[in-house]
């Protein structure tokens, strides 16, 4: 366990810590020192994350496929239990470190242009840096408690950024919803951590889940019930953070935040934290939990894809697409395609971030048109768009790359990762009975649906004629992509969505370096379905063509835009309605009942006691006033009267006194004589 670290190892760890802390420094500076509205804040945050990226790249090349680095020191001691904290750099950590900073940098650059002129420019970058810090820290820490702390912190940063435009009622509703939904998962995660602690007596991730770890031994030996429950708790935490069914409804609403935030947090990085968590604690899961993960992931992927088919809000479509893709990764985790899941996480981060950034540009353009022509339209509704490819060629091309990557078209990064998942899915289901093959078939269906909805999105936005009356591409000659800060990040991300970044061989997912890096974690499976990816690609192309026919040519009229299925999809499977109708109403009803109980029973008892006290005190006040005071008053009255009576003798006349004295003396003599 205790290996002596060389000097270079220590410097690598120091660099990794620096990479993590730099955004935090930017956050503090932006929050306390940089004046409000200063242009400096964007540059500062951008520089911080840029430096983080540079350090991450260095750390990555030092650690990747090398023995994991681990340093720790005692954090605090409770009784005889020592809680240690430290940094654990293995392949997974450095991959995430690199990925997060690599996605965050373009988003920062984009934000500098995108948020220009916003009233809370500095605050935006402060939050963004806070998020980056929390996310980077989350991936490198080696302690479940710290992991939980940063897990909460990314959630909090996400909350702040969803509600960034806090004057909008919808944004406030959305960030509350996101926060509450995540809370459910957080409670589950905390429960899971406690269960793990009770079982293994440590929070240390390396001891728990590293090589030759406790959990590995336990999972292979006897799967106890508490380990299964702990696994399910971790899963629930991941489900909330990664917006999986049934806790996914916060993510579409979270699109109320700035689009660049959606790109970074709600598409590429934070939502992937759930998948990352599953990857971190992977040895904990036994077969049952893995099956549950696969089912949840597959169902979410399918459900979200069907919902994305009919949504009209540009960002909502992308949000559901994100949910669907996260479901894919979750499913991949469940079926044991650990490396493919992380590979898909990495590729998805690039193209989904790109799609969101493009959406931001498109929405800006639509708002510009809206202002220019004084229209009362929803700038995010794709029915109002159309023909934008002539106005915004760069956006169009980069979007095409991202969409193809999402579909899994050959030569893109998405193709590699998605094929990996599908092939391993079929291999997993093989020989396990027909029920298990539902999962890979569901995945295939989802991927076809994905092709359709992203095709629909692309055709509605970029092709055909504008959905607005009297506005065509010709009447809008000026290009609105003049700001290189907006489209440069998009081009970079588009390049990242192509295959060369991940693999030299565009058709074989096994040759991707990420997959190789995690090969030791994967149960070796013979890739049986070599034909599967080609078949799916072909089908996807067909589906895209159908979408083209429906939305551009408008020839194929057999798709009904009404009916039960359409309504179900359009209303997002009525899940929100269900939550509002059943759970929210139940909670509200319970609160009302509690409030009634409080008002009438508790308050009644309190009032009764108060009334009794009041009556008692009235009685005692009466006794006090009339009896106690009466006695005292009568005594004083008697004394006063006696005094007054005796005072009468004091005439001040000497002769009177003398006379009285004489009479008394005489009286005494007379009495003495007679008695």
């Amino acid at each position: 366990m205790e290996t002596v670290l060389t000097h270079s190892d220590i410097s690598v760890i120091q660099l990794a810590v620096t990479a993590v802390v730099l955004p935090f420094v930017a956050f503090l500076l932006n929050l306390f020192i940089v004046p409000r509205q200063s242009k400096l804040s964007g540059v500062l945050s951008g520089l911080a994350i840029g430096a983080s990226l540079a350090l991450s790249v260095f750390v990555f090349f030092e650690v990747w496929n090398q023995p994991a680095l681990h340093v720790q020191q005692i954090w605090f001691t409770v009784g005889s239990t020592q809680i240690r904290l430290g940094i654990w750099l293995n392949n997974l950590s450095v991959l995430m470190l690199l990925l997060v900073s690599a996605i965050a940098l373009p988003v920062h650059v984009y934000s500098i242009a995108y948020m220009k002129g916003d009233n809370h420019y500095t605050r935006y970058f402060a939050y963004l840096s806070l998020f980056c810090f929390a996310m980077l820290a989350l991936v490198v820490v080696d302690n479940l408690l710290l992991l939980y702390a940063f897990w909460e912190m990314v959630g909090f940063a996400s909350y702040l950024l969803i509600g960034f435009w806090f004057t909008r009622e919808k944004a406030i509703q959305a960030n509350k919803k996101a926060f509450l939904m995540n809370r459910i998962g957080d409670v589950a995660l905390l429960t899971g951590i406690m269960l793990v602690y009770t079982h293994y007596d440590t929070f240390d991730i390396v001891t728990l889940f590293g090589d030759h770890s406790l959990a590995t031994a336990a999972a292979t030996a006897t799967a106890t019930k508490s380990v299964t429950i702990a696994g399910l708790c971790f899963l629930a935490g991941a489900v909330a953070k990664s917006a999986q069914f049934p806790l996914h409804t916060w993510l579409p609403d979270a699109m109320e935040g700035p689009t660049s935030v959606s790109a970074l947090i709600h598409a590429a990085t934070m939502v992937a934290a759930g998948i990352f968590l599953l990857g971190r604690v992977y040895p904990l899961f036994n077969t049952e939990v893995l099956t549950v993960i696969a089912i949840v992931g597959c169902f979410t992927a399918f459900m979200a894809a069907t919902i994305a088919l009919t949504q009209t809000d540009l960002k909502r479509i992308l949000a559901y697409s994100t949910i669907s893709q996260l479901g894919y990764m979750m499913m991949a985790m469940g079926i044991g395609a650990y490396s493919s899941a992380l590979f898909h996480l990495a590729t998805h981060a690039f193209f989904k971030c790109l799609l969101f950034l493009a959406a931001g540009v498109i929405i800006h353009e639509m708002q510009h048109l809206k202002r220019k022509h004084r229209l009362h339209i929803d700038a995010q509704n794709i029915n109002n768009m159309g023909g934008l490819r002539k106005i915004m060629p760069v956006t169009f091309i980069t979007c095409c790359v991202a969409a193809l990557a999402l579909i899994g078209f050959p030569l893109t990064a998405g193709c590699l990762s998605k094929d990996g998942i599908l092939i391993q899915g079929f291999a997993w289901a093989e020989g396990k009975g027909w029920a298990y093959s539902i999962i890979p078939i569901g995945a295939v269906l989802t991927s076809l649906l994905t092709a359709f909805y992203i095709g629909r999105l692309m055709f509605k936005v970029f092709f055909g004629e504008s959905g607005l009356e009297g506005i065509s591409a010709d009447s809008e000659p000026e290009a609105h992509e003049e700001n290189p800060l907006l489209y440069l990040p998009m081009i970079l991300l588009a390049l990242g969505s192509l295959f060369p970044l991940f693999s030299l061989n565009p058709l074989k997912f096994e040759s991707a370096w990420i997959v190789k890096g995690f090969a030791d974690m994967v149960n070796k499976t013979e890739s049986s379905g070599e034909l599967v990816p080609f078949l799916i690609s072909a089908l996807s192309v067909c589906v895209v063509l159908i979408a083209y026919g429906v939305y551009v040519r408008q020839k194929l009229q057999w798709l009904k835009f009404k009916g039960v299925l359409f309504n179900m999809s359009y209303n997002q499977w009525y899940i929100d309605t269900f939550y509002n109708g059943i759970i929210v109403r139940a909670v509200v009803g319970l609160s009302r009942a509690a409030s009634w109980f409080d008002t009438y029973v508790i308050d009644g008892i309190v009032k009764l006691i108060a009334g009794t006290g009041l009556v008692l005190s009235r009685i005692s006040a009466w006794i006090d006033r009339y009896i106690i005071d009466g006695i005292i008053h009568s005594i004083t009255y008697f004394v006063k009267q006696a005094g007054n009576f005796i005072r009468g003798f004091q005439t001040g006349r000497v002769q009177g006194y003398l006379f009285t004295m004489l009479i008394i003396v005489l009286a005494l003599y007379i009495l003495k004589t007679f008695i």
Binding site: R647, Q650, T651, G652, R653, V654, Q655, L658, F659, L662
Partner: protein, 101 residues
């Protein structure tokens, strides 16, 4: 030879006159005179009883002391009356009421 009882009667009469004067007069000087009468009644008694002490004549001697004391008391009383007059512009004891509470 007069009887001891005669002296006693005269003395009692003098005392009664003195008391009457003290109680009834509206002039402090007159009251003082009344007091002197009462003192003299007492001195008369002393002298009368002194007849029974032939050897030391202590009755006579005591009477002399009493006369001297009475004279001193009169001097003090006259001084008080003078001061009372200065204070109240009257020597009627009924009008000097400030002794009451």
């Amino acid at each position: 030879m007069s009887m001891l009882s005669d002296f006693m009667f005269i003395s009692a009469g003098l005392f009664c006159i003195g008391i009457y004067i003290v109680l009834s007069k509206r002039n402090a000087i007159q009251i003082l005179i009344g007091i002197e009468l009462m003192i003299n009644a007492a001195i008369l008694n002393l002298v009368a009883f002194g007849k029974y002490d032939d050897l030391a004549n202590s009755g006579q001697v005591f009477a002399l002391f009493a006369i001297v004391l009475a004279a001193a008391a009169v001097a003090v009383a006259l001084a008080i009356i003078l001061n009372v007059y200065r204070q109240y512009k009257t020597i009627d004891p009924a009008k000097v009421e400030r002794l009451k509470d």
